[in-house]
Each structure stands twice: as C-alpha cells, then as structure tokens.
Symmetry: C3
Subunit: 139 residues, 3 copies
C-alpha cells in the first residue's frame, strides 16, 4: 500500500470565501503514485470546510447569502462561544453545513470526479493562516 | 490491496426524491472480494446526495418539507446561480445539507451498518440521467 | 494492509448532548498498529452524529440552540415520521446537519488532527444505548 500526505496553507483575505483547489489535489494524487485508492481532503481548522460543488460565482454568492441567513455573524453576542473573546461563533455553525472533508476515489491515477465536481476550501473566519490536509492511500 | 470501482445511473422522475440503494452497494462489496476495508459511495453530481438514514416514508416526506423550507425552489430568481439559465440553485443548497458521500466500513465481507442504517441516493434536480460512484478498497 | 475494527457504546442521559471521544479514537489507532492510513469514525444510528469541532462548552450550547431552531423537537406532530409512534423526527434532521461520520488521516501512527480539532459523538435522541464504529486501515 502506498500513502502520501500533503499540507496546504491558505490565508483568505475575506471573512468568508471559497478557494478552488482541484488542481492542487490532483497534483498531490500524481505525486503519490497511487493508481487505485482513496483521497481524503480536510480542513485542519474548525471554522472552515472542504466541499465539492460547482465552480460558478453566482452559486458561491448564493451560498454566502444562505449561510449568513442560517447562521448570522452579527450580533456576535448571540453566540455563547464568543464569550471566550472570539467573534467567530457563526463560523463554527456555517462549517457544519458545508462539511469538514471530502473523500474522493482515485481511479487510473486520477481523481474520479463527475463532470461538474470541483473541490473547494471554504473559509468562514478568514484573515489568518490556515492549513488543509490531503491524504492519499492505495496502490 | 484490492480495489473495485462501480458506477450506477439514476433517472429520478420527480425533482426531489430518495432512492434506496443499500442492496446495490452490498452487491458491489461482494463483487470486490474485500473482507476488511472501506467503501465510498458518492454522487458524481452537484445537485444530488448520498446519505444514510431510515427507510421510512414519513421521514422522507419530513426531509422534503424541511429542505424546501431551508432552500425553497421558488422563486427561482432568488438564486444568482439561476442567472446562468439553470433553475436548480436550490438543489445545490439542499445537497450540502444532506451531503455528497458516505464512507462505510467493510467487515467480514459485508457493509458494517447499524440496524437501521440504509444508504440512499438523494435527488434534488431530477428528470435527467445522473451517476453515482462506489469505490471499495481493502483486503 | 492492516485493519482494525472497534465498537463503542454510549448511553447519553439527555435527549441532546455531545461526548468528547478523541482519546478513545486515538487509543484505537494505537491498537491498530497502523502508521499511515485512514480512520473512519461513524455513528451506527440514524439519530446521532460523529463530528469534529471545538471542545468548548459555549459553542456546544450554541449548537444545541441552533439545531433546535432549525429542527424543533416540539410539536412532535409536525413530523410525519412520528406517526410511527416515535417522537424523534427532529433528531433525524439534526443529525443530517451535523453529519454521520468523519474520516481522519493517520500519520506517523497518530490521528493527524489540527490544533483545535476534537472528535465528538453527537446525540439527538438519547436515553438509550447506542453504538459507534471505528475502522482503521493502512500500513
């Protein structure tokens, strides 16, 4: 069995934004030499997500509006978590909607994605450095 | 390490509906010859889900009503994504609630599911042909 | 390839509560002897979750309030699922928000978690015995 581990670092300038990372994940699969296996991609932080959806700016605006409705940033006093001095209570909730991780099949040495599937890093508490993990196992 | 890849195709007649697929996934595990490993089942589309929950029609009606409240289909103009000519902006949101994939343990050659766990394909933008991926790795 | 399977049982006294399980999962990784691989942790029930987030009591109260707003327990008659005699329709919805499972990388024989990542069992229909599965594969 082969395995390959890679860490990526992001520093997103907005509080909430989505970064397209399919090329970097595909590159990690290539480096692994794995032809058949599984590829895990997860945020290593608890106020951000890795998710798969469409690479379409209108949809991304829809996600931002919707997540802000489901878990508004303001007023920050509505979250007990913010009593710790943080102002990111909403980000912990938004991340649960969008998910922590994706697991993608590796087939014939490539990410086995559908036509429109693209991998994104989803940031909900940006303006600081954050890490993401890619782990590929297989043969 | 063994691996097995299988694709299933669905054409759901309703816009939103759930299809029970546990038997097909169990069949794929049997074909794989894997006794101990992991089984990934994911939608290859971005307006549908694979999820695990109860095989109970009342619950499925509850899910449909709830998802429609959280991300209504109408008016379609509320979604910027629909400016592309699509009318499925809501489906991209519903799918994030229900998830893209499940990963199930394979133990003694079978899906290691709890008593009431059943695997479903969840469609949120039906009336077109869509694919699902099953990937099993292990020994 | 090595594999290790372990089941944990929980009996949470409240209807909704979160139990920190990172040490038990780390112990299972140690038992497995796996140095590089993947660790699946999933609820075997359909009214509970396994998720990763912060070990902070204020945040956990925020989650409970938020989930109760998104899928209220009362009135139980609002859920068709409860016509079966159950009163846990809401729990099946809450669990979809928080997720069924997490997949965590194993690197150098340890769970490869970010600084603040902690694994939790999330109960939404407690006061009964429930099982969780840990499956580790790798080398």
């Amino acid at each position: 069995m082969k395995s390959h581990t890679k860490y990526l670092t992001f520093n997103v300038h907005a509080r909430m934004d989505f970064v397209h990372i399919t090329p970097q994940v595909q590159e990690a699969v290539k480096e692994s030499g794995v032809r058949e296996g599984l590829c895990l991609v997860n945020s290593m932080h608890i106020t951000s997500s890795v998710f798969i959806n469409d690479h379409e700016s209108g949809l991304h605006e829809d996600y931002k509006r919707w997540l802000e409705e489901l878990a508004p940033h303001e007023p920050i006093s509505q979250y007990k978590h913010n009593r710790t001095g943080e102002d990111n209570g909403d980000a912990h909730l938004k991340r649960q909607i969008m998910g922590r991780e994706v697991v993608v099949a590796v087939t014939n040495g490539k990410l086995d994605l559908g036509t429109w599937e693209r991998i994104f890093y989803g940031e909900f508490d940006g303006r600081r450095s954050k890490r993401l993990l890619i782990k590929i196992i297989g043969e």
